[in-house]
Every structure is written in C-alpha cells, then in structure tokens.
C-alpha cells in the first residue's frame, strides 16, 4: 500500500492517521494494532496532549488538546507508531446476539430477500450463518458497524431514509450490518430486532456493550424475547 500510513490534519485539534483507503481485513487489523500501540504509548506518558482516539475502518482519528501537545512532535510520534504497529486480528469478545426476524421487526426482510432472489428463510439462514466483526462505533453512541455480511446480501441504503428506526433494529446497508442502539432516523434496511441493550451510560466501565474488534454471532429468537424488553 503506497503512501500509507499518512497523517491528515483535522483542524488544529485532531489528526487522522490513515492506514488505507479500502475496507479490508488487512487494513482493519492494522487499525486494531495502532489502537493497541496508542494505548501503550499513552500509558507510558509518550503522547502528551492526546485526549482520545477513534478507530475507524481505515485509520484512527486522534483528538488532542493543542495547547498541551507539540504538533510537530506529535505528528512524528503518530506516524512512527503507525509504521511500527503490528497488524492484529480483532482480539475482542465474542457475543451471541439474539435477533427476532419476525416481519414486524424486520420490515425490509421480504424486500431484501426478493431483491436478492431468495426467500425469507434462506436470507435469514445466510445472515445468521456468518460471524460478524465490530469494525467501529459511530453515527450514534454505541452504534456498531459490522463487517462479515455475505456478498449476496449486500444492498444499497434506502433512497428515502425512515424518520424513525426503532432501537434494537438489526439492519444492512452496502457491505455492512449494524444494530441501532437508539430510536433514530435511518436509511439502513431493517431485517430484525434484538432486545439487547447496546448502550447504557450507567455501565461506567463499558457504556457501549460492543467494542471494535468484538465478534458477533446471531441467535434467532421469537417475538416474546422482545416483549419482555419493551418494559425495560
């Protein structure tokens, strides 16, 4: 990969360390490796002024307090860390996520199946047969972008986003799957719903249930699993 890693300024308070420009497992592994290198360097006091970092598909955005950081020294440190960081497969937890694929919960299920020349059951079968990996969190607090969608289930986003997608919706768009942690507007195609609570600010040690590098297996459940959740 020529030209990578490279450092892109994001104003005077952040840098994006770009490790590639295509979503692929090798780049993702370098992102996870760089995050670990950043954790170690920060713990060793070698990143003065660095507040936090956000791993994304192809890089890591590092947010700094520019009055505490020497921008040139920091830029050099970040590039050095990026060059030295070892690629790491996602070393996260493995979660079993219950999903109800009742058509009420997955209003786009039949349309996606029809578009891909499948019936509803074979669509669900193909979807749950795969293990997914959390690439990054974003869009909303705790919203996981999940890689691992079989190519035959890829679908573009809805042309007109819904004004309200219910919390817990399991959805696909492009090459990704996701779970909406919150009621929100959204343009992804809804296949089902999970009763799992993806974000809870009171869980101080882990407000977002999922973390980049975590893996997910789906477990098919009936609608009764969701009705218990409705009164949470």
């Amino acid at each position: 990969m020529t030209g990578h890693p490279r450092l892109l300024p994001l104003g005077d308070c952040a840098f994006t360390v770009e490790l590639g420009q295509i979503i692929e497992p090798a780049t993702q592994a370098r992102v996870f490796g760089l995050v670990e290198a950043l954790q170690d360097a920060k713990a060793a006091g070698r990143l003065p002024g660095v507040i936090e970092w956000v791993p994304t598909f192809c890089g890591v955005t590092v947010h700094v307090d520019p009055d505490l950081a020497d921008p040139e020294a920091l830029a050099a440190s970040l590039l050095a860390l990026a060059r030295e960081a070892r690629a790491q497969p996602g070393a996260g937890r493995l979660w079993t996520v219950p999903v109800c694929f009742d058509p009420d919960m997955g209003p786009d299920l039949d349309a996606v199946a029809a578009a891909r020349g499948l019936d509803r059951h074979s669509l669900i079968e193909r979807f749950v047969a795969r293990e997914f990996t959390v690439c990054m969190l974003g869009f909303l607090p705790g919203f996981p972008y999940l890689s691992g969608l079989p190519a035959e289930l890829e679908m573009p986003r809805l042309a007109t986003p819904r004004s309200r997608v219910p919390a817990g919706s399991v959805a696909v768009a492009g090459r990704m799957a996701a779970i909406y942690p919150w009621d929100s507007p959204g343009g992804w195609r809804l296949l089902g719903r999970t009763p799992l609570r993806l974000f809870d600010a009171r869980r101080a040690d882990r407000p977002a249930l999922l973390a980049p590098g975590d893996r997910i297996r789906w477990q098919v459940v009936g609608p009764e699993a969701l009705s218990a959740q409705a009164v949470r």
Partner: protein, 344 residues
C-alpha cells in the same frame, strides 16, 4: 427541598450545556457542550463558577424560569437579555454580562439572543452527570432531557449575604473570515472548488441546529476521487461536502465519524464565532497553518482574561451603559425593540 430553577415555559433551542463530554468518542459519543464556550465561561465567571460549569444555553427563544426555594445567584453571558419579575414588585431588566440574585418565587424571562446566550447559576446547575458531563444530548438520553414546563433544574442556594451584583464589558468576537485548516480530504475537490471555497461568500442556511449548519453558496465540485469516502473521524468545525456540493459546518453535537469528504476544518479559536451565525448571515473562509491557529487560541485566551478583568460591581447607571455598549459594538442586542416575550 433543594433550591432550583423551575421551567415555566421551555423556550426553543434551550439546553443544559457545560464544557463537553470528552473521552468517549471511540464509542460514538459526541463531545456536545456549549456552542460558544467563551459565552458560557463568561456567565460562569460572573456567577463565581469555574468556566465550564453547567448552565443553560439559549439558541433560539429564551425560557421562562422561576426561582424555587431560592435565593439563587444567576448571571448572563452572551447577547442575552432577561427580565426579572419579582413576586412582589415591578419588573426589572437584567443586562447581558451581569448577575442578579432572584428570590424564591421570582420569575425570570430570558430573551431571544441573536446568536447564542448563556445563563449560569452560582454553583452550576446540579443536574446528574452522565459519562462525566451534564451536557444534554437527548438523541442518546445523555444529560438532562429536553426542557419541559414544570421540570426543575436543581441548583445550590446563594450564600447568605451574597456577593455584590456585578457586570462586565461585552465580550465581542472579532470579525473577519472564519479561519480553517484545509483537509483532511482536500484532494477530493477540484482546485477550482477550493479556490471558490476560499474566495466566495457563503450564507447560513435555514437548517441550523447544535449538530451543524448548512451553507448556501457556490457549489463545490468534487474531484475524480468523488463525494464518498470510507467513514473517518470528524470533529466540530469540520466542513463536509456531500454530493450536492453544498457544505455543512459541523458543530458541538456532530457525530464522531462521517462519510463525506471534508474540504477544511475550522480552527478551535473560531468555533465560538460559528455559534452566533444566523440564517442569512454571510461568511468567508481563509486558510491558516497550525502556528497561526495556536496564535489565534492564545489571542482568544488573552481576550477572555481581559474581559474577566472588566468584571466590576454594578452601579445603577451602568446598566444602560452596558446595554448601549453591547448595542454599539454590534453584539446583536438591539435597543429598538424588546426581544422579551410579554408576561402572560
């Protein structure tokens, strides 16, 4: 009962904000916090607080509040007027950049700022914090929910004997182009688009909230690299340009990642200025480098210190002098109309 501010009418675009919720962007939590941190800091300093204590931000129309189990010491920062309606006595006007101690049962009407204004309470609003901040981010239930009539914002009661009422000069943000650092995706735009962005005026569109502002103006053409990128990190001040070529300025509640190329990013020292832009206002952009951005931050810190040195005990006459100064300085407080809702 604890002292507090009871919401009589919630106003529009009113939220509890502080210095922001830092350290949680990796899990998708926006920074939030005051759109104009210097305005919140000013209100807090007048109220005797730390600069980043939680206060009320008024973006569109001010709320009506009632002091309960007071007295409370409150202060205003930014172009925000208020009227105090004592339980027994004639209404009084409270100038921006000053403080006041309402008694229990007194009503406070906040005006509609041209820009964004802040109300601070001595001790800071005591709403529960979430992830280390009291800033309201209702999309994910973080911080207090949107204001509703009848809701009470807990506060610390004012000290007996209290402080003398104070006032300060208006804290005015400088004019001139909004300063940006090009990138991170400047290569996704044609050279002509970048030249247009840096030379033509843009206008604040009608869509403006705490997440961002749409800009009207010349369309910015994407280069052969196109209008989509693999989502990467964004931050308040980033200027993203979707396929329609119309830029969007991101503000405090913006997402942590985004999939549109960003032509440039506003430097931190100019973020407070963005907060005061109104639909129809025009603005221009100019590039600076990291050194100039650092000098701009130092200048902003210097101006805030100089402003703080202007805090003084309030006299009767200077009330109107402060109003006049605000008016003359173009601080968006107009003297020819009463921006306050009439009491009802």
């Amino acid at each position: 009962m604890t002292a507090g501010l009871e919401i009589v009418a919630p106003g529009l675009g009113v939220s509890v904000q502080d210095a922001g919720r830092h350290g949680h962007r990796a899990i998708g939590v926006p920074v939030s916090g005051a759109l104009d941190p210097t305005g919140l800091a000013a209100a807090n300093l007048l109220a005797g607080n730390d600069a980043g204590a939680a206060g009320l931000e008024v973006l569109l129309a001010g709320p009506v509040l009632r002091a309960v189990d007071g007295p409370l010491r409150i202060a205003l920062g930014g172009p925000l007027l208020a009227r105090l309606i004592p339980r027994d006595g004639p209404p009084r006007r409270l100038a921006p950049w000053s403080d006041l101690t309402p008694q229990a049962g007194d009503t406070l009407q906040l005006g509609s700022p041209r820009g964004v204004g802040y109300l601070a309470v001595a001790g800071g609003l005591q709403v529960p914090a979430a992830l280390g901040s009291r800033a309201s981010y209702p999309r994910a239930g973080l911080g207090p929910p949107p204001l509703q009539a009848g809701q009470r914002l807990p506060c610390l009661p004012a000290q007996d004997g209290g402080q003398p009422d104070v006032q300060a000069d208006p804290l005015i943000h400088p004019d001139g182009p909004i300063r940006v650092i090009p990138g991170p995706q400047v290569g996704h735009f044609t050279p002509a688009a970048l030249a247009t962005f840096l030379s033509e005026p843009y206008r604040i569109g009608q869509q403006r909230d705490r997440m961002g502002i749409r800009l009207d103006g010349p369309r910015l053409a994407h280069s052969a690299l196109g209008a989509d990128i693999v989502s990467d990190g964004v931050t308040p001040g980033a200027i993203q340009v979707p396929a329609d070529g119309h830029p969007i300025l991101l503000l405090a509640d913006c997402q942590t990642v985004g999939g549109y190329p960003k032509i440039a990013t506003v430097i931190r020292a100019d973020l407070p200025r963005l907060a005061h832009l109104q639909p129809g206002d025009s603005l221009r952009f100019a590039t600076v480098d990291a050194c100039q951005a650092a000098a701009a931050r130092a200048d902003l810190a210097r101006r805030l210190r100089a402003w703080q040195a202007s805090i003084r005990p309030r006299g009767g006459l200077t009330d109107s002098a402060a109003l006049l100064a605000a008016n003359l300085a173009g601080c968006a407080v107009r003297g020819d109309e009463d921006p306050l809702p009439s009491p009802s």
